[in-house]
């Protein structure tokens, strides 16, 4: 660990000013990912701006049905919140499938969105990594790839995004509210995380001097059913091999609304637009689910060592949709 300065933010605007004035600053909220990175020297900030005591910790439902979640709302509290359990079971299940109870008690909504990849090479200073050290190379390519991407990967980085919550938020068309020097900016979650491209060091479109203050969920879709299915090697406390967040609304025997996102397959939570298009207006049959998987996965490319992910995400999607209509 390299010594750093520490400041406790008094309010969000002043935290943004401090961020802007200190290019070597990082924001500390729950610390469940950042503190690991400090210990491993993956993160070497000059200044930590602790926002964990800012009062961004409420879940509010507005008149139009929008739910606004403060950036500091803890994952445990959000998963247990009646508005979330009732209206967004997909999100509650995604949250509860993440990490461990102890970590969920600390991890925040804003911080969860900014989790960095668990790629073993990213976390190991002794191996090259374009995400940690741009231009040094990607050690995962040709290496240990069990957790790596099959969709949207680049030749510079094949890492996956580790969050469960973000997959649900992507499927739900949630919005990130970021406070910057010029006020609030609203970023749809599906556009918030980036594909690696040739800048794998940038996980999101958030600017360096912007602070996530809230996440907004659009009103509940009446009549829709949703869930989150996470597939992992052990029953708890493991990152997703793959995951599926799905919401369906069926009327008169056909699919009227559908929203699907995948976790564990790409550098970002993967909105399965191809599968959605395939399903919209179709009858909710196994054949249709299978066709939707084909549509989405025609572009999937496995690495040596993670070939299993293509049939796995396929089967998981079909099983998740089947469960929703059963």
């Amino acid at each position: 660990m390299i010594p750093f300065r520490y400041e406790r933010a008094t309010d969000a605007p002043s935290a943004v000013v401090t961020l802007r004035e200190n290019p070597g600053a990082k924001v500390l909220a729950g610390g469940t990912n950042l503190v690991d990175h400090l210990k491993l020297c993956v993160a070497t900030p000059e200044l930590l701006i602790d926002i964990s005591r800012l009062p961004l910790d409420t879940v509010d439902t507005w008149g139009d049905g929008t739910v606004r979640i403060g950036a500091n709302v803890r994952n445990s509290d959000l998963a247990a919140h009646p508005a979330i359990r009732r209206g967004y079971p997909m999100l509650a299940r995604a949250l509860l499938s993440g990490a461990s109870p102890q970590l969920r008690n600390l991890a925040t909504t804003g911080g969860n969105l900014l989790q960095r990849t668990r790629c073993v090479y990213f976390q190991d200073l002794s191996t090259p990594c374009n995400k940690r050290n741009p231009g040094s190379g990607c050690s995962a390519i040709g290496g240990y790839t069990r957790y790596h991407a099959i969709l949207g990967a680049s030749e510079h980085c094949v890492a996956t995004h580790p969050s469960d919550m973000a997959v649900a938020l992507t499927a739900l068309d949630a919005t990130v509210v970021a406070l910057g020097p010029n006020g609030e900016r609203r970023i749809p979650v599906p556009e918030f995380h980036r594909l690696a491209g040739d800048e794998p060091d940038r996980d999101t479109v958030l600017e360096r001097d912007e602070l996530i203050v809230a996440v907004e969920l659009p009103p509940v879709v009446p009549g829709a059913v949703s869930t989150y299915r996470k597939v992992r090697d052990r029953a708890s406390y493991a990152f997703a091999l793959v995951s599926v967040a799905a919401e369906l609304r069926i009327g008169d025997g056909t699919i009227r609304d559908v929203r699907i996102a995948f976790g564990g397959v790409a550098h970002k939570p993967w909105r399965a637009v191809g599968a959605e298009h395939s399903l919209l207006g179709a009858e909710p049959t196994l054949r249709a689910f299978s066709a939707a998987a084909d549509a989405e996965l025609s572009a999937a490319r496995a690495l040596p060592g993670n070939e299993y992910k293509i049939p796995l995400i396929r089967r998981t999607l079909v099983a998740t949709l089947r469960e929703l209509v059963e």
Partner: protein, 696 residues
């Protein structure tokens, strides 16, 4: 007196749950300093330069150790312990230096400021059975012969058999990872001179006898203290290079206790691990399932810097009757750290292979797996011809079958489904040799306070030795346990052998019983205060006359998700024969712990060594999986009512390792029963099952 057999709660339990039991790093010492190691970032080559000025300039840094300035070791014959004597790098992660500073943070930061240049050479960490340098070692771990032959297996295999098995089975590298990583505080008193080490070890005297010659000290110039140890699983069975590094630093900083806590990542680098193994198992049998020939050829990775060969084929020598038998071992030398003991070395990987092969033979013959074992039960030790002291593996199998509901198992695989789960049941047998190490001494005294002091250097690594030895002493001295004041965990106490190889309680307990008998003979049952004597157990001739082993049977139910192949274990039972059970509470804990290790071995643990870099890249507990609570549902261990008078004076046998032996095979066999997919390479993951799942 009947203290033995009572479930006395751990006498160190309250201290542990209240945080007052002191582990190695926690001993209060005056004016400590902190060490952070520098490790090699190439897998083979030479250090050409270490730039230490930046580290030395950091305020608070007291010492930067490098091969240039490190103390010279007196004995460099042990390649695991010999560090900083040359600039050679023999494996990635090897200790090549250290920073010692006033705080752990400064030490760590300064270590990062030491830049190292290497002359890097080609390395090879890729295990393969056709490795051109593979060789037969002189002997294998445990001192066993490398090769054994009886009858003529090859000509049997050359002829067609009614039923046969011919497969390869493999286990990956696995790292012990006790909850308490290795840690040491080393203090050099140059006036005595005396090196004191508070060390997380399975053997206080073992550390002295291994390190004193390396450091050029007499044995009485070292003292090793370890009252409480947070697990070892073999890796703390002897000192490793981190102990040497701490001692070197301490000798450079007399009077300053040097604290060195090995990080979780470094647990994957230099404190031992289970080598990769591959086992070629061949069995031929007649149509009734009687084995006519059995061969087990084991391959294991070893380090170039020191040989350690996992004795994976040894269990096959005695487990089943067969007129023709062949076992052999091959070592594959690589540029890797030195493998070492881990959770039933030899038996755990060897019986995984053997017990899965038996399940395959049962399927091949169309015979129930338990019945197959009945038909091949050896009446005497097939290897030596000696009688068994007590071999009740069939009783374990039958009792387990009754309790577990074996009769509900469908003999045809992939035929039982509930909801979205494919359900299967599997069984495996288990055996682990009974070992009593010679050399433990015990002193018994009677104090003014009316209590007996019972003293020996044994280490309680979390298994319950504090409690178990108290029970043994109470019965042997004919007094209630409260009258025993046990002192263990210090090399200043009489010599004790290692807490390893399931030998601790047997070895120490035998010595306690001997000393107690002598004490009572000399001083009677109402001894005068101040009465004291020291004794060691006489050789037990029965250990030579009989083959003595602990036995067991594992029963596992698995559920495999029909869509994703996710594997979960709702139910597991182990039935064991371990002689007389001294403390049911702690024995049950150990057996269940071993069974969970079996689940872990079957489904989770895998140290992935990246051949390009040469180190384990899954080097933390987020990437290196062990089961969590949610993975372990209904699990139970029980045992037969047993006494083995040949094994120890207590009638007990070793119980530490039998819990893991065979358990991974039972999981794999259950997965086969559930899915029809036979997996022979551990760990089994959903990846292995996907293609065998039903279409959606």
């Amino acid at each position: 007196m009947n203290a033995i057999g009572t479930s006395l709660p751990r006498i160190d339990g309250q201290a542990k749950v209240t945080g007052t039991a002191r582990y190695a790093y926690e001993h209060p010492v005056a004016d400590p300093v902190h060490l952070f190691p520098i490790t090699a970032e190439v897998a083979r080559g030479r250090v050409t330069h270490m730039e230490t000025e930046g580290a030395e300039a950091l305020p608070g840094v007291l010492l930067v150790l490098t091969p240039d300035n490190a103390p010279r070791l007196a004995d460099t014959s042990d390649g695991d312990l010999t560090i900083l004597q040359t600039t050679d790098v023999s494996y990635r992660g090897q200790l090549i230096g250290a920073v010692v500073a006033e705080t752990p943070e400064i030490a760590r930061q300064a270590a990062g400021l030491v830049s190292v240049r290497y002359d890097e050479q080609d390395h090879d960490t890729g295990f393969r059975v056709d490795h051109p340098q593979a060789y037969r070692p002189e002997s294998v771990n445990g001192g066993y012969a490398t090769t054994t032959d009886a009858g003529d297996t090859e000509s049997l295999f050359a002829r067609p058999a009614d039923a046969s098995v011919d497969h390869w089975y493999s286990t990956p590298e696995e790292h012990n990872n006790p909850m308490e990583p290795h840690a040491v505080i080393a203090l050099w008193d140059s006036t005595e001179p005396l090196l004191t080490m508070y060390d997380s070890t399975q053997s206080t005297h073992g550390v002295v006898s291994a390190l004193a010659p390396v450091l050029g000290l007499e044995r009485d110039q070292m003292r090793v203290i370890a009252p409480h140890v947070g697990g070892g699983f073999g890796s703390k069975g002897s000192p490793h290079s981190h102990d040497v590094l701490a001692a070197m630093a301490a000798m450079r900083l007399p009077g300053r206790p040097v604290k060195f806590a090995v990080t979780r990542r470094h647990m994957f680098a230099f404190v031992g691990y289970r080598a990769r193994t591959a086992s070629h198992v061949r069995i031929a049998a007649d149509h009734r399932g009687h084995i006519t020939a059995l061969a087990h050829d084991a391959f294991a990775q070893t380090a170039r810097v020191k040989e350690y060969v996992e004795q994976a084929a040894v269990p096959a020598r005695s487990m089943y009757a067969s007129p023709n038998r062949h076992t052999d071992h091959h070592a594959v030398p690589l540029d890797v750290p030195v493998p070492y003991w881990m959770r039933a070395p030899g038996e755990a990987p060897g019986m995984f292979a053997g017990e899965v092969a038996m399940d395959e033979l049962a399927a091949e013959c169309g015979i129930d797996p338990i019945e197959l074992r009945v038909r091949n039960e050896p009446l005497s030790d097939p290897e030596t011809g000696k009688p068994w002291s007590s071999r009740r593996v069939l009783d374990c199998l039958h009792e387990g079958a009754r309790r577990f509901g074996w009769d509900t198992r469908s003999a045809s695989p992939a035929s039982r489904r509930e909801g979205n789960s494919l359900i299967g049941i599997g069984v495996a047998g288990a055996a682990y040799p009974h070992m009593v190490m010679p050399g433990t001494e015990v002193s018994i005294g009677f104090g003014d306070n009316g209590r007996y002091s019972v003293r020996t250097g044994a280490a309680d690594i979390g298994t319950g030795a504090w409690t178990t030895l108290t029970l043994i002493a109470a019965d042997a001295l004919g007094c209630p346990p409260e009258q025993i004041a046990l002192e263990i965990g210090d090399s200043a106490l009489p010599n004790a052998t290692v807490a390893g190889g399931s030998s601790g309680t047997s070895s120490w307990g035998s010595a306690i019983v001997t000393a107690a008998h002598q004490f009572r003979a000399r001083f009677g049952d109402d001894p005068p205060p101040g009465a004291e004597l020291t004794a060691h157990a006489p050789d037990n001739p029965d250990l030579e006359k009989y083959t003595i082993s602990s036995f067991g049977a594992h029963f596992v139910e698995v559920r495999v998700d029909v869509d994703t192949g996710e594997i979960r274990i709702p139910r597991m039972l182990g039935v064991f024969s371990v002689g007389r059970v001294i403390n049911p509470r702690t024995v049950r804990s150990q057996l269940i712990g071993g069974m969970i290790f079996g689940v872990s071995m079957a489904l989770h643990e895998e140290s992935v060594r990246d051949p390009r870099f040469g180190h384990v890249v899954t080097h933390d507990l987020a990437e290196y999986h062990i089961p969590v609570h949610a993975d372990i549902a209904e699990i139970d261990a029980t045992w037969l009512d047993d006494t083995d008078e040949h094994a120890t004076p207590m009638g007990s046998r070793g119980a530490g390792e039998i819990g893991i032996v065979g358990s991974a095979a039972a999981v794999v066999n259950a997965i086969y029963n559930a899915t029809g997919v036979r997996v022979r390479d551990l760990p089994v993951r959903l990846d292995d099952l996907l293609t065998g799942l039903p279409a959606q």
